[in-house]
């Protein structure tokens, strides 16, 4: 086998200092199906964006068919017969399938688009590669699986020899996945090379010839798929990061503070995202949710905090039902929330720091005085919080958007912690922020847990979940697959098996620990 792509020592450091790829070597052979796996944030998308010319590497070399190449933009990559199908489809919904396929390089006749030819070439491509579509259908009216085929046809129309598929099965039903796999095999039979990004190990086993595993921006290894078990791959994916220097006082678990029973959630597209999730939160304990992203964690948090309406279940706090109440009602019960998506939910970037700090309390005394909001008090309280939480800023009047990611997160943490929460729901509390802020936030979490707060911690960083939590629950495809009452006694390999759905505890096993 002859390598078609060699990426050598690829380093990518973003302007803000995030190291996404750190000396990655990645080799793909001609005519193979190569799976690229790793947790979210492992750097696999960045690597592929570099290969497709969307991002430029800070350092390193790309060798294509034995020649060194540099891509200034994805147009260069397309010229070199590389095609990419993104997770979010880039189609014009009001155009026909065929128009989308040829968009940008339409066949012409006397300077006008040759409509018959458009339909014809699309039909030919579709037949040749077994990607069945109806060329004259409007994209808006076809389903997700068909849209994906249109995307693949688009790259083939541009003569792609190497196809990068970014998590192509994330949006597909099992049946559509099988159809896609069939199509991928046809492509390879006809001499194409396919790079397949995923974190579903079952699919890796099923479709790929070789697999490369990435973790924390580094390449862990490339192996022949037939030589590894899913368990071994899971270990390569989730190996532990070295940082654990958190001192955690012994847990003093006290009364039950939140009782979650049989919560379900169905997405807009009708997919069940949460299925009968039940567990309890106790004062003085951190319960961690471990799981690969996209297995229902986001929705769980949003349902618990009132941002999304559930499809049934119950959440009891202080003997009262709070499921599907308004966010204000839920907050009034003492439930604080560090949101996963800082820039969307966590702050209003153009509002000042102080205005971001009061969103959960501006409407009550002492902040509200008669008809007015007491901005003097807001100012002094904000300055206290800025000092207490070490937020780096000259004053409280600056827009939050002018702060670094870590300081922005500290603003959120300052607000949520200072509300003296009864229950805290922390989602990805340290994602994408600097080491200093990360450690600070982790220490604060442990501090309020020790002083008696009940905490639900959701994080894609397994190291974080394992070192902070007292008890761990694993979530896979919207269901709880395991509960580990003593977080300190479980290994990451073991957790990995439950997170990836390879092992599962029975309800009877889990019941008394949930």
């Amino acid at each position: 086998m002859q390598p078609i792509i060699e990426m050598k020592n690829i380093v990518k450091i973003y302007d803000n200092g995030v190291v996404a790829n750190n000396g990655v070597n990645f080799v793909v052979n001609k005519g193979e199906i190569h799976a690229l796996v790793g947790e979210n944030g492992a750097g696999k998308s960045t690597l592929m964006k570099i290969l497709y010319g969307i991002e430029q590497p800070t350092d390193g070399e790309i060798i294509l068919n034995g020649e060194s190449v540099t891509f200034k933009s994805s147009l260069d990559a397309i010229d070199h017969k590389i095609g990419m199908v993104h997770q979010n489809f880039m189609l014009v919904p009001s155009f026909t399938v065929a128009s989308n396929v040829v968009l940008g390089s339409e066949p012409l006749k006397k300077g006008l688009i040759d409509r018959e030819k458009v339909l014809q070439v699309t039909q030919e491509l579709s037949d040749q590669f077994g990607l069945f579509v109806q060329p004259d259908a409007i994209v808006d009216s076809i389903n997700v699986g068909q849209r994906q085929r249109v995307e693949i046809l688009k790259t083939l129309y541009r003569k792609a020899e190497i196809l990068i598929l970014d998590e192509p099965t994330a949006v597909l039903t099992p049946q559509e996945t099988q159809d896609l796999f069939k199509a991928i095999r046809t492509l390879v039979q006809q001499g194409k090379t396919v790079i397949f990004i995923t974190h579903k190990l079952r699919e890796v086993k099923e479709i790929s010839d070789r697999v490369t595993v990435m973790r924390h921006g580094k390449m862990i290894g490339t192996v022949d798929t037939k030589d590894v078990t899913r368990e071994q791959m899971a270990n390569m994916m989730v190996g532990r990061e070295v940082f654990l220097n958190i001192t955690k006082p012994e847990m003093k678990r006290a009364e039950k503070r939140m009782e979650i029973k049989n919560i379900s959630f169905i997405s807009d597209t009708g997919r069940p995202v949460l299925r009968d999730v039940s567990f309890n939160l106790y004062a003085g304990e951190i319960l961690g949710i471990a799981g690969v992203e996209g297995n229902g964690q986001t929705e769980l948090v949003e349902v618990l905090t009132g941002l999304k309406k559930s499809a049934g279940g119950s959440v009891i706090v202080k003997d009262e039902e709070i499921l599907d109440h308004s966010p204000r009602d839920i907050r009034q019960k003492g439930i604080a929330h560090i949101p996963e998506d800082r820039l969307t939910n966590g702050v209003a970037v153009r509002a000042s720091i102080e205005e971001n700090l009061i969103v959960d309390r501006y409407f009550r005394a002492p902040y509200k005085k008669g008809f007015m909001l007491d901005y003097k008090l807001v100012d002094s309280k904000s300055n206290e919080l800025i000092k207490q939480f070490g937020i780096l800023t000259p004053n409280a009047k600056l827009p939050v958007g002018s702060l670094s990611g870590g300081n922005m997160q500290k603003v959120i943490v300052a607000r949520e912690f200072s509300s003296n929460p009864y229950v805290l729901i922390a989602s990805q509390p340290t994602r994408g922020i600097d080491v200093g802020a990360t450690e600070f936030i982790r220490e604060e979490l442990v501090k309020i847990r020790t002083s008696g707060c009940a905490i639900l911690l959701v994080s894609a960083d397994l190291g974080e979940v394992m070192s902070l939590s007292d008890r761990i629950v694993t979530l896979y495809e919207g269901k709880i697959t395991g509960v580990f009452p003593k977080a300190a006694e479980v290994s990451e390999e073991e957790l990995g098996l439950y997170m990836l759905g390879i092992k599962q505890q029975t309800y009877e096993e889990m019941e008394k620990f949930l």
Partner: protein
């Protein structure tokens, strides 16, 4: 003093002045081409409004309307609602206040007070329709409010023609409102002001509305920046998802913001009825509703900037009247200048001098927000900024 020149307000003011100067210069270049006597034409545009007392009056009267409309838009724009139903709210406010002033058998003071109240309530209620449609059916407020303008204007014409206008009347209008039920002049009746007062009363329609407008500016400023409601409104405007996450009732805030803004459109209706036209007459809004948008944009959606923007804008319009009457240049030229100024104000990059200073300021305090988007995508070790 140094901090004043560095303040955001001053920079915005500078931006507007710069835009105005450039706009006027371009306007003058055009005048050179279209006019036989460009110098005089431009002189009448620039100085015309100040040459006679009645022209000063015209300028101030129109400016008052513009300021009220600017405030209306300022409120909804701060909530990021692209609501442009001001014209409709104003004309129905005019109708309400006119009807009260014409027909309700009350002594002058309570009658005028009731006219104000009626106009304010009607203005707010008319805003309720697109607000509810937006909040509960996600109907685009831009479209609904625009269409409701036509509905309101036609409703006004219908009521005017069928119930108010006399058959014998030669114009489509009501009777004049009795002198004692109109708004009085803004100059108090003190002995030493007597002569000036007489003069202004005779030549202008500048009324106590001046004080109402000043109060309105202060009220809107406090409402937006000093009250919990203003906080909710601005937070929803800056990031509705954040507002919802924080517990703010976003729908309620949207509805209230449009209704509250309607109060000021209603006041503009009172002004054109009880101070300017002194009766209900066809086309009495003369399309001013949309100018409120320009005022708000010029003022950077800051209520304290609205009076300045309103007076500047009103001055240009008044100058245009004078120019049209006293030269061979038509008032359309002024629309060109207005458009230029607006373009320059909204196209922020065209005035980099002022903007770079803001950028520098952000450099000092940390990264801009652009970098954070990437940070979310990829997680890893980061440096302390």
């Amino acid at each position: 003093m140094k901090s004043f020149f560095k303040s955001k307000g001053f920079r915005e003011f500078l931006r507007i002045v710069l835009a105005l100067v450039i706009g006027l210069t371009l306007g003058f270049i055009i005048t050179l081409f279209v006019s036989e006597d460009p110098i005089n034409a431009y002189k009448s545009l620039l100085l015309g409004p100040l040459t006679r007392l009645n022209r000063i009056g015209d300028w101030l009267e129109e400016s008052l309307t513009l300021i009220l409309l600017g405030l209306t838009i300022c409120i909804v724009f701060n909530a990021s609602q692209w609501y442009i139903g001001v014209e409709g709210q104003m004309i129905l406010g005019a109708l309400a206040s006119g009807c009260v002033a014409l027909y309700v058998p009350l002594p002058p003071f309570p009658r005028i007070l009731l006219a104000f109240l009626a106009a304010m309530i009607v203005g707010a209620l008319w805003g309720l329709i697109p607000a509810l449609l937006k909040a509960y059916y996600n109907a685009n407020e831009l479209v609904t409010s625009l269409m409701l303008n036509t509905v309101a204007l036609k409703l006004f014409e219908y009521v005017l023609k069928n119930f108010i206008m006399h058959e014998k009347s030669r114009s489509v209008s009501s009777d004049y409102i009795g002198k004692e039920f109109r708004l009085g002049t803004f100059i108090p009746d003190w002995p030493f002001l007597h002569n000036i007062r007489e003069l202004w009363m005779k030549q202008t329609n500048v009324t106590v509305m001046v004080y109402v407008v000043i109060a309105a500016v202060i009220v809107v400023y406090y409402l937006l920046y000093k009250t919990p409601f203003g906080y909710e409104l601005r937070t929803v405007g800056l990031n509705a998802k954040f507002a919802r996450y924080g517990g703010i009732n976003v729908n309620k805030t949207i509805i209230l913001s449009i209704m509250v803004s309607g109060i000021f459109a209603g006041l503009a209706g009172v002004h054109i009825t009880l101070a300017i036209h002194n009766r209900l007459i066809s086309n009495m809004t003369s399309g001013l509703g949309f100018e409120g948008i320009n005022i708000a944009i010029l003022a950077g959606n800051n209520p304290l900037g609205v009076p300045i923007a309103g007076l500047l804008y009103g001055y240009l319009r008044a100058g245009a009247d004078v120019m049209e009457r006293s030269s061979d240049v038509s008032r359309e030229l002024v629309y060109v200048i207005q458009a230029m100024v607006l373009l320059l104000v909204t196209a922020e990059r065209l005035l980099p001098v002022v903007k770079t200073r803001i950028a520098e300021h952000q450099e000092e305090t940390g990264n801009g927000s652009a970098g954070h988007v990437k940070q979310i995508e990829e997680k890893g070790d980061t440096h302390v900024n």
